[in-house]
């Protein structure tokens, strides 16, 4: 029961904040809504037993990426944003509430069709999904998998991070004349 409540809360938060990210005109506010979305996704991870991943999501995004984005928005001249209207304001009755409703309905219909097409995947594995409802800790297994099966990807990602660190520091440094 608690997992279902947690799932409902996280799903509502994710969807609501995502809609807010899309809808707002203020970039700073969009960044704050993005923080809510990322927390919602972390909650969704927690409901399917990915506890380590949920904590990683919170550490990386809340502590790092969102603050970096806030810094970048502030250093590049504030929050006002220009929207690409594709020239739709020239066509009468485009960009109104009616068109948004039509677009939303078509998104829902396409989603339903996609889910229907992939339905045989989750009907075929129903017994497996029921058998795997227990949520044991994944920390130990992820640690041993990272250092045995996925050691090459792990090392490459560490080199990637080092490169990103040095590259970002070099790129953002002001040029001395």
């Amino acid at each position: 029961m608690f997992e279902q409540i947690l799932f409902l809360l996280s799903a509502t938060a994710t969807i609501g904040f995502t809609v807010a990210v899309v809808g707002t005109n203020n970039l700073m506010h969009a960044c704050m809504y993005l923080l809510g979305t990322l927390f919602g996704v972390a909650g969704l991870y927690a409901t399917i037993g990915a506890d380590f991943l949920a904590a990683t999501q919170i550490v990386v995004y809340a502590g790092g990426v969102v603050i970096l984005m806030l810094f970048a928005i502030m250093l590049t001249g504030g929050a006002e944003d220009k929207k690409n209207r594709f020239g739709i304001e020239k066509i009468p009755s485009m960009g109104s509430t009616k068109t948004y409703i039509v677009a939303g309905a078509s998104v829902l219909i396409i989603a339903m069709i996609v889910l229907k097409m992939t339905a045989n995947i989750h009907t075929a594995n129903k017994d497996l999904a029921v058998a795997s409802t227990g949520n044991e800790s994944t920390v130990f297994n992820i640690g041993s998998l990272l250092l045995t099966d996925h050691i090459l990807a792990f090392e490459i990602s560490s080199i990637l991070l080092l490169g990103a660190l040095v590259g970002a520091a070099i790129i953002a440094r002001p040029k001395r004349n």
């Binding site: 970039l27 995004y61 690409n84 999904a129 490169g163 970002a168």
Partner: protein
């Protein structure tokens, strides 16, 4: 309620929202924000499939690497944005017309 289709639906909505942000915004930082949403939807998909179909930890590892790449991408991307602003005094994507300063 906690089943594969519900997770797929949420991840689909995240992807569509990220795509929309990437297309409709003209600020480079906003485009990076849309990329974050898309990467999150991919990671959520990996974890959901690995829970309900495979029942091993490969999807978790994949999502971990996606988070690592998202962090690296955000750092380098935002550094480029700041440098671009120093050169052009603008963060409009249509002003980025040259590869060298």
């Amino acid at each position: 309620m906690i089943s594969l289709p519900s997770y797929l639906f949420i991840s689909f909505l995240l992807f569509v929202a990220g795509m929309f942000v990437m297309i409709a915004r003209k600020n480079i930082v906003a485009i990076l924000l849309g990329i974050e949403l898309i990467l999150n939807s991919a990671a959520l998909n990996f974890v959901a499939y690995t829970k309900f179909v495979n029942n091993n930890l490969d999807g978790h590892i994949m999502s971990l690497f996606i988070i690592v790449i998202a962090a690296a991408e955000a750092a380098v991307g935002l550094a480029i944005v700041i440098r671009f602003y120093q050169l052009r005094e603008s963060v409009h994507i249509d002003d980025a017309t040259q590869l060298q300063s």
